[in-house]
C-alpha cells in the first residue's frame, strides 16, 4: 500500500503533545474522564478534533484536522505512576488557558516543560508530614501520645525503606510489602516491651500511609463515569496494594507470634 509520503508535521506534533499530556495526567493520578476532557479541550484550543482511548498503561489518540480531513494517530506508554497533584492542577489550568486564549502548540509545550520542572516537596519535609499523618491516625483511633511516637518512628523508617526500594527499581507492590513489613516490625517491638497503652493501635496505623487512596477514589469515579474497564483496573491495583500491606503485617505477626 502506498502511504502518503507527505506527513503533516503540525498534526504529528499536536498528537505527540496531547499524548504527553495524557500520560502525565494518568501517571499523576487523574481520573479517566478528566484525562479525556482535558486532552479534548486542549486539542479544541489548538483547532483540531480528537478521539482518545485511555488505559492504565497506554494512551491512544487520533487527531483530525477538520479542514483538510487529515488524520494522525499514535500511542504512548505511561511513565511509572506516582501521585502528583501539582501537575494535575497545572495541566487543568493550562487547558483552560489554551482553550480560552487559543494558545499555539509552542506555548502549550513550553507550559508543560515548566510544569514538569516544578520540584516536589523536599524528601525530609514529606517524610515528617507523612509520619505526622500516621501519628494523627493513631490519635484518631484512640491512641495515646506514646503510641503516637511509636507510629511516627515506624512510619518514618518505613517511608525511607519505600523511597529507596522505589529508587532501586524494585517492583512497586514489592516495595509496599517491604514498607509495610518495616512499619509493623518496628511497632511490634513496642508491643513486645509494652511501650504505651495501645501499641496495637500504633501497629495498625503505621502502615496507613501506604493506603491506595487515589486508585480507590478514581476507581469509583471511573466506574460512575462509564469507564468501567479503567475503573476495574484501578480497583484491582488498589486491592493488590491493600493485599501487599496485609501481607507485610501477616509476616510480622507470624515472626512475633501475636
Amino acid at each position: 500500500m502506498n502511504t502518503s509520503s507527505h506527513i503533516n508535521t503540525s498534526l504529528q506534533e499536536t498528537a505527540d503533545c496531547l499524548l504527553e499530556i495524557g500520560c502525565l495526567l494518568m501517571a499523576s493520578g487523574a481520573s479517566t474522564n478528566r484525562i479525556r476532557v482535558t486532552m479534548e479541550r486542549i486539542a479544541d484550543g489548538l483547532g483540531y478534533e480528537t478521539e482518545t482511548l485511555t488505559t492504565h498503561r497506554t494512551i491512544f489518540v487520533i487527531v483530525k484536522d477538520s479542514q483538510t480531513n487529515e488524520i494522525y494517530n499514535s500511542f504512548k506508554k505511561t511513565p511509572p505512576h506516582g501521585a502528583n497533584f501539582t501537575l494535575v492542577s497545572g495541566i487543568s489550568k493550562m487547558s483552560w488557558h489554551a482553550f480560552e486564549n487559543n494558545w499555539t502548540l509552542k506555548q502549550v509545550k513550553e507550559e508543560i516543560d515548566r510544569l514538569k520542572k516544578i520540584p516536589r516537596y523536599p524528601l525530609l519535609i514529606t517524610m515528617i508530614f507523612v509520619s505526622l499523618a500516621d501519628a494523627g491516625f493513631c490519635r484518631l483511633f484512640g491512641g495515646e501520645y506514646i503510641d503516637l511516637g511509636t507510629a511516627f518512628v515506624a512510619t518514618f523508617t518505613a517511608f525511607t525503606v519505600k523511597h529507596y526500594a522505589t529508587k532501586l527499581n524494585f517492583n512497586g507492590y514489592l516495595s509496599v510489602i517491604f514498607a509495610s513489613f518495616t512499619a509493623c516490625f518496628i511497632t511490634s517491638f513496642a508491643r513486645m516491651y509494652s511501650i504505651g497503652n495501645h501499641p496495637d493501635l500504633a501497629f495498625a496505623t503505621a502502615v496507613l500511609f501506604l493506603v491506595p487512596g487515589i486508585p480507590l477514589i478514581n476507581s469509583f469515579s471511573d466506574i460512575m463515569d462509564g469507564h468501567v474497564m479503567n475503573g476495574m483496573v484501578r480497583g484491582t491495583h488498589a486491592m493488590v496494594i491493600a493485599f501487599c500491606i496485609s501481607l507485610g503485617m501477616l509476616v510480622t505477626m507470624l515472626i512475633f507470634n501475636f
Partner: protein, 159 residues
C-alpha cells in the same frame, strides 16, 4: 460532649490530611484549605457518631460535605476539586476496621475450636463489611457533587 477533645481530634484530622496532601504533592496554595476541609468533614462524622449515628452514614455525610465544599475551593484556588477532596477524605479511611478484619482472617485460617471459630467469623465479617462499606461511602460522597451537577468540569458549576 467534650468540646476540647473534638477540637483536638479535628486538629489531628487536619494533620493527617496535610500529610497525605504533601505525599500527593498538591500545590502549596491549597494546603490550608485541605486542612480545613478535612477537619470539617471528619468532625461532622465524629459529631454524628457521638449522637448515635451509624459510622457508615457518618462517613457518607462527612465525605459529601468535603465533596461539596471542594467545588467553591476549586473556584477560589484554581485547582481541580479532586486535589482538595482526595487528601481531605483520607483521614476517614477505616484503617482500624480493616486491621481487625485482617487479624480475624488470620485467626480463621488457624485450627481453633468450633465455638471460637464462630465468634471470630462473626467479628471478621462485621469488621470487614464495615471497612468495605465505609470506603464505598467515602468515594460515593466525594463524587456526589460532580454526579448531581451533571457537568464535565467543576468550572462550569455556578456557585
Amino acid at each position: 460532649m467534650d468540646i476540647l477533645l473534638h477540637i483536638e481530634l479535628a486538629f489531628w484530622l487536619a494533620i493527617a490530611a496535610i500529610g497525605f496532601a504533601v505525599l500527593f504533592n498538591v500545590p502549596k496554595r491549597t494546603l490550608i484549605i485541605i486542612a480545613i476541609l478535612a477537619a470539617l468533614g471528619g468532625s461532622s462524622k465524629l459529631i454524628l457518631m457521638h449522637y448515635g449515628g451509624h459510622i457508615i452514614i457518618g462517613s457518607m455525610v462527612g465525605a459529601t460535605l468535603i465533596g461539596l465544599l471542594s467545588i467553591p475551593a476549586a473556584h477560589g484556588k484554581h485547582a481541580p476539586p479532586l486535589v482538595f477532596s482526595i487528601p481531605a477524605v483520607i483521614p476517614m479511611i477505616p484503617g482500624a476496621f480493616a486491621y481487625k478484619a485482617m487479624l480475624g482472617f488470620i485467626k480463621l485460617t488457624g485450627d481453633i475450636s468450633l465455638e471460637s471459630y464462630q465468634i471470630a467469623l462473626d467479628e471478621t465479617v462485621n469488621n470487614g463489611l464495615k471497612a468495605v462499606f465505609i470506603i464505598f461511602a467515602l468515594t460515593a460522597g466525594v463524587s456526589f457533587p460532580m454526579l448531581i451537577s451533571r457537568k464535565e468540569s467543576a468550572k462550569e458549576i455556578k456557585i
